[in-house]
């Protein structure tokens, strides 16, 4: 009898633990939904006053007059993101191919920890570096060749900083994809007389193209949402930038910068929450699609 009670208790414990853990798992699944709904509810007031389209295409940002045009901020975000991808992508492709196909194991052992460290440096430290090095470099060395005057606080500075920040993410995903391509495919190409480089171009690169695209999409969404580093070097003027040397004002910087004053002006907090919702929605979509592609690749080559 005692034994039976004992095992009944043990099974009960197992059941209780199971239910608690299931609840937490569902919570972790629902978190994205909760965040999305929460931000959407908070941005309802401004969507009642203005249409989504007029908010997105409006280019005048005067909260005191009730004008909330997001266009300059969206363009600011697109400029810095675009610049960062243009800089980071070739560097990452070349480096990942080098590390996975050519580099000596000794070189890999040296380089991998350094890329890890690059990934771990906090955004605010990138921002400090940007102010110390990148901004003066642009205003003194690069900009004078192209434009009359630039303070250096520009979308180019933001793009350069972002490029370095997303490089570790892209490289680590690309290395995983290259490692997933079956060796037999490469061997077949080599045995038909193709050179190493031809094999890379026509087998490795072509086979991993979906994965590379997924990596780029992930990097874009990382660049989209980066806040503090970009805020520190972009200049933050709510005007649509016309050249890489102009200041810009990306969406995340808008949210971060206006904390505090937003509570006193009607609709201001709602406008900022809408900005957060737009960021969330785009990044959620991008992330979901590219992660599904990556999981599929992993599964296809897993055997």
């Amino acid at each position: 009898m005692a034994l039976r009670n004992n095992s009944a208790i043990r099974i009960l414990k197992d059941k209780i633990a199971s239910n608690i853990m299931l609840a937490l798992t569902i919570f972790s699944l629902a978190l994205a939904l909760i965040i999305g709904v929460g931000l959407y509810i908070k941005s309802m007031p401004i969507l009642h006053e203005h249409s989504m389209w007029s908010l997105l295409s409006g280019d005048s940002w005067r909260p005191f007059k009730g004008q909330f045009g997001f266009f300059p901020f969206i363009m600011g975000t697109l400029w810095v993101t675009g610049i960062s991808i243009i800089i980071a992508l070739p560097l990452c492709l070349l480096t990942s191919i080098y590390l996975s196909e050519y580099a000596h194991p000794y070189v890999k052992r040296m380089v991998f920890p350094m890329i890890d460290i690059l990934a771990g440096i906090p955004p605010v430290v990138y921002g400090v570096w940007g102010i110390l090095v990148v901004v003066p470099f642009i205003s003194d060395k690069i900009a004078p060749h192209f434009v009359e005057y630039s303070s250096g606080y520009s979308v180019l500075a933001g793009g350069i900083i972002l490029a370095i920040m997303i490089i570790p993410l892209i490289i680590s995903i690309m290395l995983e994809i290259f490692a997933a391509i079956p060796k037999e495919l490469k061997d077949a190409s080599l045995s038909l007389g193709a050179t190493n480089w031809q094999t890379i171009k026509f087998v490795l690169f072509r086979k991993s193209l979906p994965g590379i695209i997924a990596a780029i999409v992930l990097a874009i969404s990382r660049a989209f949402g980066e806040t503090i580093a970009v805020l520190m070097v972009c200049g933050n003027i709510p005007i649509t930038p016309n050249s890489v040397f102009d200041s810009g004002y990306p969406l995340p910087a808008l949210i971060a910068n206006n904390y505090g004053e937003m509570m006193s002006i009607p609709l201001y907090d709602s406008a900022l929450m809408l900005a957060a919702f737009i960021l969330f929605a785009i990044i959620f979509l991008f992330n979901t699609v590219s992660r599904i592609i990556l999981v599929r690749i992993e599964k296809r080559y897993a055997l």
């Binding site: 070739p90 560097l91 580099a103 605010v124 400090v128 050179t195 806040t227 971060a256």
Partner: protein, 279 residues
């Protein structure tokens, strides 16, 4: 001709790798060069004194202590959510489970959500529950940020625990609840790595604490008080026009970089230890 193309690209690849490593070096050089002269014992042992923000005496102890409290709280809260999730999808659910795959996917997606969104969301929660900017609110925001990291990196090692090990314990009559201990012991170095990684992310993040933890010159003594953090100390002091105050931002940046560097090296050490001890 075929050889020439390969040679050109091979050299381009070497250059690209060097550019990336070079930028890491440049970052370190700049931070060290400006940070070392600004460092002093006062920086890490004193809280801001009178006139600190016009360049008088004091240090960053408020921000260091605030960051430490915040990270400890967020890590504990994050572990309280993530360990049960990881255990559930690896011990309770069958090997091929839709729910487990969905949980992994959602952790991956949440990992990509920027910290400013977590900050904004935590801010709406604060308004809803009538909380002020406080250590507690900051802890909640940061724990949301690091939970996906914890789930993802613990899950990666938990998946590698051999099925036989679980089956052996189950066949001896253990319940699933009782083999949790076996699994946790197996992945304990992985848990350590996950904690170190998430601490590294949590301590350096500014956007999530900007709305939530606030800023103060004193060391918080309860969860209801606002807390200063190192990233925000850097951010605020760098925007001051006074050079002495800016110097403190460089000192704080150096402190933060050293902390993150140590955490990253420790995480590497533990994950290597894990791959040695694998069953």
């Amino acid at each position: 001709m075929r050889k020439l193309e390969e040679t050109i690209f091979k050299n381009l690849m070497r250059i690209a790798t060097l550019v990336i490593l070079g930028s890491l070096l440049l970052i370190f050089i700049a931070i060290i060069k400006r940070g070392i002269p600004a460092m002093s014992w006062d920086m890490i042992s004193k809280i801001p004194g009178g006139g600190f923000y016009i360049g008088r005496e004091g240090g960053l102890l408020n921000a260091i202590a605030g960051s430490v409290f915040l990270v400890i709280g967020a890590t504990i809260l994050g572990l309280a959510i993530s360990i049960p999730v990881v255990v559930y999808i690896n011990v309770y659910l069958p090997r091929k489970s839709f729910l487990a795959d969905l949980t992994r996917l959602s952790a991956d997606v949440l990992f990509g959500i920027p910290s400013i969104v977590y900050g904004a969301f935590a801010f709406t929660l604060m308004i809803y529950f009538g909380l002020k900017t406080s250590l507690l609110a900051g802890i909640i925001a940061v724990s949301l940020l690091i939970t996906p990291i914890l789930i993802r990196s613990m899950d990666e090692v938990a998946r590698l625990v051999p099925k036989d090990l679980k089956d052996a314990a189950l066949s001896l009559g253990a319940t699933r609840y009782e083999i949790i201990r076996v699994v946790l012991r197996q992945i304990s170095p992985g848990i350590t790595t996950a904690i170190l990684l998430s601490i590294g992310r949590a301590i350096g993040d500014a956007a999530s604490v900007l709305f939530t933890a606030g800023y103060t010159d004193s060391i918080p003594t309860s969860l209801n008080q606002p807390a200063a953090t190192l990233p925000l100390a850097i951010f605020f002091q760098l925007s001051s026009p006074i050079p002495e105050v800016q110097d403190r931002a460089y000192a704080a940046a150096l402190i933060l970089t050293v902390i993150v560097l140590v955490l990253s090296l420790l995480a590497r050490y533990y994950s290597r230890k894990f791959s040695k001890n694998k069953v």
